[in-house]
Symmetry: C2
Subunit: 393 residues, 2 copies
């Protein structure tokens, strides 16, 4: 097992009746809070009213940054930074998905830095260490940003998605209430759920590294659990247990517990350039690419068969058998069917009316401008990436 | 799923080459440290020399409390408290097992309180909130005390084991080096490993509560992993992977991650009064009592059969079948055989030359002086407890 360091200080309030603790967490840092969210959908929600009421009845002054985009722009971050500096705000509170939480983390760091422009931090022109307090109220089970210490921001002018990473921006508290995810529509539930699965697959399961018994078995179990509970949440949006399982699993995927000791280069996340070039939802991009990537590897490299076969049996629930290669192909097929039938997601770009005109751009991005992904599960050349993209048409 | 709050702030340094970070952690709190351990076995170890060297070369003044007992006495704690107060020590560093770590937690709390006697805190005569910093270097995979916030202390004069509990005594840092457990003899390895299993069985697996898919499946997986890796560590004491798995699993058992949302009353730990009355190792007491407790329940209460059968198949690895009751009995038999053959532990008191003369005392303690354990997996009367003890003869 590789040496590793683990610490995760986020205080999690999980469940239906925890919002009464919000003002206590906020007032640890000061009485001015910036509430950031994605716009009218949140502003009209009961959750939003409860949050504002909870803060205002406890003498907290609320500033508001609405309209945080799905891939949050650095200009929106900068707007929040200016508000924090102008009003002397101490806490940035996110209500929303990973994008809103990421936006708040970026605001928190830049607000205590010398610059008004988050991109100076992203490009490491300005050093930073401290940050305002971040508190997260996720409204979808997906990225797990509420317990991790990084964020991704889009610079539309440069056509670049990048981010910052540091202990100071890890949320001080996170309020995980499964009922806040009851209204997430089936399509977004499916995409968020597949994002959770992809985090595990990419960073802990299909890895070019030793499989440590504890972490690897735990990851496999969580994958299977998400695989089983996700269709329940899609069919029964108010099934508390299914929603709770997904919400907590999303945090586990990125809170460093399951990744402890693993060192790898996430390949599916590198390949998933559909969101950055075609504006597809990230989780949908992952759902489209994953089975094609598996098929491509399997047709060229027998050494993946055992891993894929194990995935088929232990995660997808197909019966075990002797012929590992056949089993591996069945596993990929089972995954594709799961995405199509149980998650109700498209599995080809053509179903979305999209073509391959962005593939060259995607390929370059996927390989980070270099020749291949050297530490990934199986290194891929730019040609490999392009071939995999073509399988998605 | 029950609402819950989760936070675990301990910084874990896991692996072979982490001790170089020790002085950084110590110097966060001050330059005077009390190093506590169990005596000559530790003092003559390479680990001890490395720790002292690491501290002294970084200008840390070291005070020493040796001879911490296996069930640490409140008088030993008080000795440490006096040293901390006299010398203005800021950090208490444990090198050893759960007893040493627990002793350090108790010292840390009392040293900042108004009293010189830890028992005033245990009996809640004196309120306490803050504590000196605690740092833990476990030398056996067992209690998981290095990431939790409670401790158990023995008052021999009163014949009582009790403790304190609070966020301030959770270790600030823990150095988990599997090679530090290479010298743990087979018997202690087995007892420590069974202690880990019992934590999961008692608090997350055989519980009178809903089984949440995520946490329950993870717990079952860790149980199976420990069941498989423990015999490896016994046979191959320097098997790094097996030792690492046990050491990290011990922390997972008590770091609140796996218990999140569960509410139960630990029954096996209540029944395990062999250590408090006959001076048996706690893990051995648990290993003796667990299969008898299962048999006793199974013979009287058909409703446990499904749970025990699942344990048999998913943890003990016996083949699944239709007849759940038969399967449940097989599961208990498999567990007893595992303890005897693979762990090499005695399964009856008579093998240790012990009799039932303490059973009345044990029974009273097990039920905490009350009639039964109302929230436990299956409530037991004092008569039930006594009957189970008799099965251990």
């Amino acid at each position: 097992m590789n040496d590793f360091q683990f610490q995760n200080t986020t205080k999690v309030y999980f469940g239906k009746d925890q919002l009464g603790h919000l003002h206590t967490e906020v007032l640890k840092f000061g009485d001015k809070v910036l509430v950031a969210h994605g716009g009218s959908f949140i502003r009209e929600s009961l959750l939003y009213k409860r949050v504002i009421n909870e803060l205002q009845t406890n003498a907290v002054t609320v500033y508001e940054l609405g309209e945080v985009e799905p891939n949050p722009r650095h200009t929106t971050v900068n707007k929040g930074v200016a508000m924090c500096k102008e009003h002397g705000i101490q806490t940035v509170l996110a209500i929303g998905g990973g994008s809103t939480i990421d936006c708040c983390k970026a605001i928190a760091a830049a607000a205590l830095s010398e610059t008004d422009n988050i991109w100076d931090l992203v490009e490491e022109k300005i050093a930073w260490k401290d940050a305002l307090a971040v508190i997260a109220i996720p409204t979808i089970a997906s990225t797990g940003s509420e317990m991790d210490k990084s964020c991704v921001i889009s610079n539309v002018e440069l056509g670049v998605k990048s981010g910052i990473n540091g202990e100071a921006i890890r949320p001080k508290a996170a309020f995980l209430d499964p009922t806040n995810t009851f209204t997430v529509p089936p399509m977004q539930t499916a995409c968020g759920g597949f994002d959770i699965m992809a985090h595990f697959l990419d960073m802990n399961y299909f890895v070019n590294a030793d499989k440590y018994p504890l972490q690897f078995n735990v990851v496999e179990t969580i994958l299977k659990t998400v695989r089983n509970q996700l269709p329940v949440a899609i069919k029964e949006p108010e099934n508390y247990e299914a929603r709770a399982t997904l919400l907590w699993a999303a945090s586990w995927a990125l809170n460093s517990f399951c990744t402890s000791g693993f060192k790898t280069q996430p390949q599916l996340h590198a390949l998933e350039q559909f969101s950055s070039t075609m504006d597809l939802t990230h989780g949908l991009g992952l759902a489209i690419i994953t089975p094609k990537w598996m098929t491509y590897l399997l047709e060229r490299d027998e050494t993946v068969a055992d891993d894929f076969a194990r995935f088929g049996v232990n995660v997808m629930g197909i019966p075990d058998s002797e012929d590992k290669k056949a089993l591996a192909f069945q596993a990929v097929e089972a995954l594709q069917q799961f995405i199509k039938d149980e998650l109700g997601l498209p599995v080809y770009l053509s179903e979305l009316g999209l073509d391959g005109s962005k593939f060259d751009e995607m390929t370059k991005k996927a390989c980070y401008g270099r020749k291949m992904l050297p530490l990934a599960y199986r290194p891929l050349t730019q040609e490999d990436c392009l071939n995999i993209y073509k399988m998605c048409l």
